[in-house]
Amino acid sequence: MKIKSTIALFTVILGLSSCNFLDQVSPNDISTSDAIKTAADAEAALLGVYNTLQQGAYYGGQFPLMGEGLSDNATTGGYSYLSLDQIGNKQVTPANALVQDLYISMYRTIVNCNHLLQALPEVTGLEDQRRQEIDAQTRAIRAMAHFDILRYFGEHWDTGSAYGIPVIAEVQGISDIPVRATVGETYTFIVDELKTALAGINPDDDRVQYVNIHTINGLLARVYLYKKDYANAVLHANSVISNSPYSLLDATLYGDIFSTRRSSESVFELAFNKQNRSDFNGLTYSRDDALRTELFYLASADLNNFFQSRPGDVRAALLDYDVSRNDVTIVPDGRTQKYRGEESRDNPAYILRLAEIYLIRAEALGRTEGLDDLNLIRTSRGLQSLAAGDVPTDASFLDAVLDERRAEFNFEGHRYFDLARTGRIGSVLNVEEFRGILPIPSNEIATGQGRMAQNPGY
């Protein structure tokens, strides 16, 4: 009898432990499969895509600044940080931890785009117009991320090269092994996506903290320039210059680009705030008395010499080489002043600026037609115009454009790519030419099961 009642008791307890007992729900998360169902979800996921651009390894700091460290614009600091030293010494190995983080962060953005694009057609309550806009913004960001990966990891200057990057246009499983596309295929994907985006974007929205029609035209101009398709580069640069409300600032106001937010020169500027900070200040300035070891990227003495030869250039003021303001361990190098604001640390990422559009057009148009654009930038920055005789050859004109880009965009992440796409890695940096791109991270090779090819030379 009693045994029976015990068994009955057990049964009751068993009954209490209904199946629900083991169903726990996370209060902070929503599973990927349920996340994007309604219009509001899609809007939230779009904001999330922008959030991924803000990762510390991407436009939150490392993407632009690492390129500086790899070029002649910057040297590196840090405490015996081998990965960082490798960047400063322009001798990166596949095991480099910073490079691995960079690689993954850009694909993180792409993966977020892919999920949103996959869910978007089924989202309920979304007007077609808005659906198209979200699609366009997402595609443009996905294309930009691919292009950014290509610039660091693929032979972007040679459309005939086999060393493109894995193009990821679908939601991937954890076991999917990526394969590298050729450079030509990668460009085709990027251009097609940007063109699709251009067709779908709302032409009336010109907020610069979001991808707008001018961002897409600007990105197309940039991609065509790298691809050496100059006619198309000019076409899209024209579109930004003639149709956008953006304008160049007066020479005396150049600093406003960095000390204010969303200046009239910005075409695409990522917005940070105190609760959502970027790493730019910490990596380049940190505090008044910072030692070299505390900082990641310092303005090189070479960049100082470069500006010495450009009297009147107002952009020199955003570099501080003064011994009285920099710790003794930093000299003869200096610090950029583009990312000040030690307390708020909400420095934006300047992804696309109007000056770049002009310089793209100048470079694409070439010596005779492009000189006006070059001079427009020069005169806006306190310099004299160049006469045609000052740039007698195509080569000297290209030198002048690249110098202008260096003066304009130092610490904004263009220099390394400019050197690579114009074949100057060896001559300027004095390292092997293959170092114009980074090695594919060793973990990609290890997990690639033999299907992931390493870049030549590494």
């Binding site: 015990t6 998360d29 996340a35 803000q54 694909y107 910490g282």
Partner: protein
């Protein structure tokens, strides 16, 4: 109503009142002799059962004691069989004590029950209070360190209250079960993180152990379930072994009041000796001279823009006359007091038994400002309600407060900065303000170490309640049902204030961080036990159902900009710059069963089965089944067995499967979580998941032998084990095109194979002088059998190069780096193996250079007693592993200063480096001093050191006064902890693991770990 109040009163009285009033006493005397030799036995304790009154026999084996006619006398001496004799109104009782087989009749706690040691078929080690009491350690795992074979407990740093690395047969992080409650044992403080100056987490710092919430002296016994047969009853959480902790309970008889106190001092056991100002100046000037000579003969290594004047111009602030000659390690360490006070009561009558204790532990850290204080309260109560029904309560309450050492064990921490600080820099300027580290040589520093210690005030406050209420009903004497409800509630609060004086917060005007953590576990366990004895057969069947749910919540807030007046709480902040709040939960539903069958006490069988369902896995693969079976044969029970030498011999074999679910919650689902942009709320993908995620399983074979020689004079066991952990729950590298570097999934296999043994020998006993020796040793070989992708590089700190590698055929925790081939006597250059033969020595030449986990470890205890004196000496050893002393890239930099720009030097060097290469032909341990280019390679075997050691862990000398005044017993003792270390290691201590106690994959790194203390205490123990 009145009745109810009355019964409450009775309960209270039962708790408070000591045992009853004594009747008329007799004086009893007699002689105690050895049953074999018939010699008289001195030093035998004679006590009255159920009381603590007693005496010992004199040199002629005679005793006299006062007792009642109805009392029972207990005669006891080490190594001989205990005897209990009723007085029965006699006044003379002579006794013969025979050889003991006592160990075999000892009862051992197993999961969900107890068992006689002789009937055990699995590998269980048991250690009782008397073996670890009174040690000045805060963590119970520290008290069993080195005492048990197969168990390797490593102290990763000297931080008070720190977590320990507990490894059972090669498997890290066992399950702790305290009086039946599977205890949350993780480090829950969010201050256990290594931050860089950007405030980003770069890795794990020193963890705190929540196992420290249990006061070691409240513990009656600790059982370590080592093999699958013993552990499988805990199923899905038993893969890494189980540590069962049983606290003291009440005993029938006179109430025993026990007061115990010790107090003492601690000091950093070993300090690293650094160069003084003169030696440092010599080094730097020599480095510059060496470089200049090289530059003048061949400047190719110096780069195009190199300006040789940096080699000749005087360095700022590098003037011997103005040198403070500061010994930084002396400035940040101190002689620190430690003390512990404890009061406990234990007693009861036939129906109600209680144990209650309170204790206060106060340990000051050997690093300045740092301390750990803990208050414990415990009540354990058992009451027999009716003949068939027993009920009881366990309640344990802990409060602890820990003043943390900033960035403990990692860089930018107090010790790490002190290791590189320049002797030219004073602690304070003449006007009393902290000297500005920026103005002095040594750019390694991130701040003045004393300033960091004093001006970064971080505390972890912890409240913990473990409570169980149970009822047990015996339907029949052999059929018992037990049900219990338990809760484990942990509340932890972190706060950290960085004053505006510190480099970390100067730019923001001070920064405060406050964080809270709450974890509540509810557990219900129901078991039914049936025993049947018929003839020579003995059968026990156990069945049970348990349910557990755990909910965790965390929140944090960061504020910046504080007024200068000592207002340090968040409400004084000018800006709130960050706030988080998150929660997680998991539940577990389990069915368990065990069958023990013994025939003729000679053939023993055990089978267990547990089914665990966990919310951490998706519906289809939620339940895991964990069976085990074992058998033992007591050969000594057979007729044919000659018991002349082995008086008892038992062979055991077991095989079974245990599991592991110790991953985070919700790792089986890929999630979106909040991700804002442009001041608007958005969502972004947080993780990538494998929906097929399921249990990790550990299949273990164990073959054991228990032996007793000469009736227990020598006894011990020998074990062989082989375990295969398959479907490892691991953070597995996946292609970065997924947007993530790793995914948690089941992959790979790791095998642990080993032998372990222990021997207890009563080398001398029965006279005034007794000597007992216990030795244990374990050899474990760990090997990775398969991985989803081979050769995975792991970084101990995310901003350092990969320090470890996972590679098939190698053990977990293998170090990777360049192979150092010594100093070239001609040039003084450090040389390395160029494995890829490309003529360039760089990280591409990295290879496996060592291992973090020891292969052989054990302990040796010698206990001596002479009359009332007792002396125990406990030694522990460890061999076969290396330590990656990454601090030496700073402390052995040989003058290399390019990290900080060449206008300043980088860091001071160890005094040892005076033995460096000076001129061609020198055969030196350390290379040529070099200012511009490093003459070392941080990730190389140059900084890999032998981790083997022998440590005199504990020496205790005590004197016991048998009866003194009102006290039935008083013991005074002098104890030394970590008295001596035999090791070649160049850092503080080879027993180290800088990035916390949570992982073995990146273990064995020394990156400025907190120095371990040597402790001397004086204690007193009073019994009433």
């Amino acid at each position: 109503m009145a009745r109810k109040q009355y019964s409450v009163l009775v309960w209270l009285l039962l708790l408070i009142l000591p045992a009853g009033i004594r009747a008329q006493e007799l004086s009893i005397s007699g002689t105690v002799r050895d049953a074999g030799s018939k010699e008289t036995l001195p030093g035998v304790t004679v006590t009255i059962k159920g009381s603590s009154r007693g005496t010992t026999t004199d040199t002629d084996g005679r005793y006299t004691i006062k007792a009642q006619g109805s009392d029972v006398l207990v005669f006891q001496v080490v190594g001989l069989e205990k005897q209990e004799l009723p007085v029965e109104n006699r006044t003379r009782i002579d006794v013969l004590l025979g050889e003991s087989t006592s160990l075999l009749s000892d009862v051992v706690v197993v999961g969900y029950g107890v068992q006689k040691k002789s009937q055990i078929t699995g590998a269980i080690a048991s250690i009782s209070n008397k073996d670890f009491k009174d040690q000045p350690v805060s963590n119970l795992a520290g008290s069993i360190q080195g005492r048990v074979s197969g168990l390797n407990v490593t102290t990763p740093s000297g931080t008070p209250g720190a977590g320990l690395l507990v490894n059972v047969r090669g498997n890290l992080n066992p399950l702790y079960v305290v009086d039946g409650i599977p205890m949350l044992s993780e480090s829950n403080s969010s201050l256990s993180t290594a931050f860089n100056l950007q405030g980003e987490s770069v890795g794990s710092g020193q963890t705190l152990s929540s196992v420290s919430d249990i006061n070691p002296n409240d513990i009656e016994s600790i059982e370590i379930l080592k093999d699958a047969s013993a552990a499988a009853i805990y199923g899905a959480r038993a893969a890494n072994g189980v540590i069962l902790i049983t606290t003291k309970r009440g005993k029938e008889g006179k109430t025993e009041v026990n007061f115990n106190a010790y107090t003492g001092i601690q000091q950093a056991a070993r300090k690293i000796k650094f160069m003084d100002s003169g030696q440092f100046l010599d080094l730097i000037e020599e480095a510059r001279r060496n470089d200049l000579a090289i530059y003048n003969s061949d400047n190719s290594a110096f780069g195009e823009d190199f300006d040789p004047s940096v080699l000749t111009e005087p360095l700022d602030n590098f003037n011997l006359d103005e040198s403070a000659n500061t010994v930084w390690l002396d400035e940040v360490t101190r002689t620190a007091p430690i003390s512990n006070y404890e009061l406990s009561m234990r007693g009861g009558d036939a129906r109600t038994r209680f144990f209650t204790a309170m204790s206060y532990f106060d340990q000051t850290g050997v690093v300045i400002e740092n301390y750990y204080k803990r208050l414990n309260l415990r009540v354990n109560l058992d009451h027999q309600v009716t003949e068939k029904f027993t009920a009881g309560l366990n309640l344990s309450n802990t409060y602890s407060r820990n003043r943390r050492s900033f960035n403990d064990d990692t860089y930018t921490g107090v010790i790490t900065n002190a290791i590189g600080a320049s002797p030219f820099m004073p602690v304070y300027e003449s006007d009393g303000v902290y000297s500005a580290f920026e103005n002095y040589q040594a750019s390694w520093l991130s701040d003045n170490p004393v300033k960091s210690a004093k001006e970064i005030r971080a505390f972890t406050n912890n409240y913990r309640v473990l409570a169980t209420a149970y009822g047990e009903y015996a339907f029949r004497p052999n059929l018992r049902f037990r049900s219990s409800f338990s809760t484990d509630a942990a509340f932890l609060f972190d706060n950290q204030f960085k004053s505006a004086l510190t480099a970390d917060a100067v730019a923001v005007g001070g920064e405060a961080y406050e964080a809270g953590f709450r974890a509540i576990t509810w557990l219900n366990e129901n078991t039914l036990t049936y025993t049947k004895t018929s003839g020579k057969s003995n059968l026990t069947i156990l069945g049970g159902i348990t349910e557990q749910r755990t909910q965790l919540e965390r929140n944090s807030i960061t504020g910046q900009g504080f007024p200068p007046s000592g207002l340090e709480k968040i409400s004084s902040a000018a800006n709130i710059v960050g706030a988080t709040s998150s929660g997680t939960s998991f539940s577990l539903l389990s069915f368990l069963s065990r069958v023990n069958y013994a025939y003729n006490d000679r053939y023993l069988f055990t089978a267990t089965m547990r089914a665990d369902g966990s919310s951490r896995f998706s519906k289809d693969n939620r339940f895991g089944y964990f069976p085990s079976a074992s058998a033992a044969w007591r050969i000594s029970g057979e007729e044919f067995f000659n018991r002349n030498f082995f008086t008892d011999l038992k062979m055991r074999v077991s095989y079974g499967i245990t599991g592991d679910q110790e991953i985070g919650d919700f790792e089986n689902v890929s999630f979106y979580s909040a991700a804002n942009y442009d001041n608007q709320a958005g969502i972004a993908i947080r993780n990538i998941a494998d929906p097929g995620l399921s249990w990790q399983s550990n299949r273990m074979l164990n073959v054991g032998l228990d032996y007793e020689i000469k009736g227990g004079r020598f006894n011990g066991s020998l074990e062989f084990f082989q375990s295969s952990k398959t479907r490892l729950l691991s953070r597995d590298a996946i292609p970065g095109t997924t947007g993530f570097a790793t995914v948690t999934r089941n992959s790979g296999e790791v095998q642990n194979t080993g032998v372990e043994g222990n021997l207890t020998a009563y080398l001398r006993r029965g006279g005034d002088f007794n000597w007992t020796m216990n030795v244990n040793g374990t050899y474990v070989r760990n090997e990775i059998k398969s991985l989803s992708s081979d050769e995975i590089y792991l970084n101990a700190f995310s901003d350092l190069e990969a320090s470890h590698i996972l590679k098939v055929g190698e053990p977990i925790g293998s170090f990777v780096g360049l192979k150092y081939t010594g100093i070239d006597p001609q040039t003084g250059d450090a040389t390395y193996e160029d494995t890829n033969g490309d003529g360039i020595v760089d990280y591409d030449d990295a290879q496996i250079i060592g291992r973090a986990l020891p292969t052989f470890f054990g302990g040796l205890t010698n206990k001596f007693s002479y009359k009332n004196w007792d002396l125990s000496i406990f030694t522990r050893f460890n061999a076969g592993n290396q330590v990656y002393n990454l601090m030496r890239a700073t402390s052995d930099n040989l003058g290399y200063s390019n990290e900080g720009g060449l206008s300043s030097v980088y860091a001071n060097n160890r005094a040892d480096l005076v033995n460096r290469w000076r001129k061609p032909g020198d055969v030196a341990e350390y290379g040529r001093a070099s200012f511009v280019n490093p003459n070392f390679f941080i990730n190389s075997s140059q900084f890999l050191e032998n981790g083997s050691f022998i440590r005199i862990q504990n020496v205790n000398l005590s004197y016991t006064f048998p009866e003194i005044g009102k006290f039935s017993n008083m013991t005074v003792y002098l104890e030394g902890q970590n008295l001596w270390l035999f090791s070649q290691y160049k850092g503080f201590d080879p027993e180290v693991s800088s990035n916390g106690a949570s992982t073995d994959r990146t273990a064995g790194i020394d990156y400025g770990a907190y120095p371990q203390a040597r402790t001397i205490t004086f204690g007193i123990n009073l019994k009433l």
